[in-house]
Amino acid sequence: MISDEKLDRGDRTDGRPARRRSLTGSMLLLVWAAWIAGPALAADEEEPRITAEPRAIIEDTAGRVVAVLAQKDRPAEERVAEIEAIAYEIFDFATMSRLVLARSWRKLDREQRVEFVREFKRHLSRTYGTRLDRYDQERVDVYAAQLEPRDDVSIRTRIVGGQFDGAEISYRLRKRNEQWRIIDVVIEGVSLVSNYRSQFAEVLNSGTIDDLLSRLRDKNFEVEEEEKPSEARAQR
């Protein structure tokens, strides 16, 4: 804890581009660009040991996801299923469930908790998988790691290329049972946990936890219907 501030400062490499060679316009512009980009070059200190592991996990995962997305010859469902499988490994759904339900978590009995985590997990994995599958030309740049209070770590990434060029996505990881896993995804400053929490609070405001569970189940069911129309028809 003593060195929090130091870690924080040293590790937040700015990610500001330092490339100068393509700026062949006028001398003046070049000098200006160099002045602007200067500090980014200086901030290249040693990465703290704590953030190294979660950072490697995010880098590795980004690589795997991009590799799956690149397999355009395979059917979309297979790619989505594979991304879902990756999501299953790297997200801590139990912690996320508890965070999104906040104070309402206490009102759930054990059975409801298990069911909630299962359905929420399925919901997140599906939305994650189907959304990601649309993007194929992007690269993910992991540009910084930051130590958060109580030993959480945030890994900052930026999408390069494609429709969302420059979009910033930060992953917050926590170590539980000796395993670093994602507990929140922050897209352009919008925390997924906060967003779901506010929506679930609204549902629980006007209904019970069973209402929320059945909404979750219905949604997951709808998505499955959409994805596997032939199977769904065969079952009837």
Binding site: R16, S22, L29, A33, D152, V186
Partner: protein, 284 residues
């Protein structure tokens, strides 16, 4: 122009400063009605037209149009860089305008991003926020969508300070903005459809995302959540850490029998079962 923006500024201070409530959405009943209206307009008019637009125009054309409007909006960003006293951003944005207007053929090609000139995003709402004006109540504006009182006032100032709007008639400005919005709507067809379908309460989804995003933009930290200490505590930590350990819940309890995931779950389960009895044997 400066006088006008100063007037807006002081009005914003007065209006927002007095009216910022603890609850971010005191006008929710009204906002929900306007939101429902906007949604209906989108479903019946904007989205269908955007689908046609998307069908007719190839992706490159859409991107080019988006780039053009981004470039057209740069002077407003530049002005707000100045108003927020950010010389670095001024430098980058001047470079960006220069590159995209010349080599980028009037803005249609985003050359600046290719030579790694960073993108800045500023507007009057952010400038007000930067100098400490709180966002004020959440406000859904008919046809225009989510705002806060502060950012709505900022939006009016943005519209007046766009240089191109001084030289062309008002209907032409409105026309240009419509094309910009339609093109953007076409680009985000799938995302918006998915967000709608996935949301548990789409009104709350949009409100939460908008408020968080604006806060991050004001702080120039879109790569993280911008939270006060107590908010971060509330969002990320439990009241009672020990309770968690007692539950004995682990990933194995929730795993589904699905291809890919099932195998992983079994492997994890196997590890645990394998190691635990071993430890018990050692103990006696």
């Amino acid at each position: 122009m400066l006088a006008r923006s100063l007037t807006i500024w002081s009005l914003a201070w007065l209006a927002v400063g007095c009216a910022t409530p603890r609850e971010p959405d005191p006008w929710e009943p009204m906002n929900r009605r306007v939101f429902a209206f906007n949604e209906a307009v989108d479903r019946h008019a904007l989205e269908p037209v955007a689908r046609g637009w998307d069908f007719l125009l190839p992706e490159v054309a859409q991107t080019g149009i988006q780039n053009f409007f981004d470039n057209l909006g740069m002077p407003v960003i530049l002005l707000n860089d100045v108003l927020q006293a950010k010389p670095r951003a001024v430098g980058w944005d001047l470079l960006r305008i220069f590159y995209n207007t010349t080599f980028g053929l009037g803005g249609f090609i985003d050359v600046a991003t290719r030579v790694e000139i960073p993108r800045n995003d500023e507007d009057f709402g952010q400038t007000l926020g930067y100098w400490g004006v709180p966002p004020g109540p959440y406000l859904v504006v008919p046809l225009l969508g989510p705002y806060t009182l502060r950012d709505g006032a900022g939006g009016v100032a943005d519209a007046f300070s766009a240089p191109h709007s001084w030289f062309i008639p008002i209907w032409a400005s409105v026309g240009l903005t419509s094309v910009d919005l339609l093109n953007l709507r076409a680009i985000f067809l799938e995302e918006i459809a998915e967000n709608r379908a996935d949301a548990f309460d789409y009104y709350v989804f949009v409100r939460n995302a908008y408020l968080q995003n604006r806060r991050a933009r004001v702080a120039d930290r879109t790569d993280s959540t911008v939270l006060e200490q107590d908010e971060a505590e509330d969002l990320y930590y439990f009241d009672d850490e020990e309770e968690w350990e007692d539950e004995g819940l682990e990933s194995g309890d929730y795993d589904l029998e699905e291809p890919g995931a099932g195998a992983d779950a079994e492997a994890q389960e196997g590890d645990r079962v394998g190691s635990e009895p071993g430890e018990e044997e050692v103990a006696p």
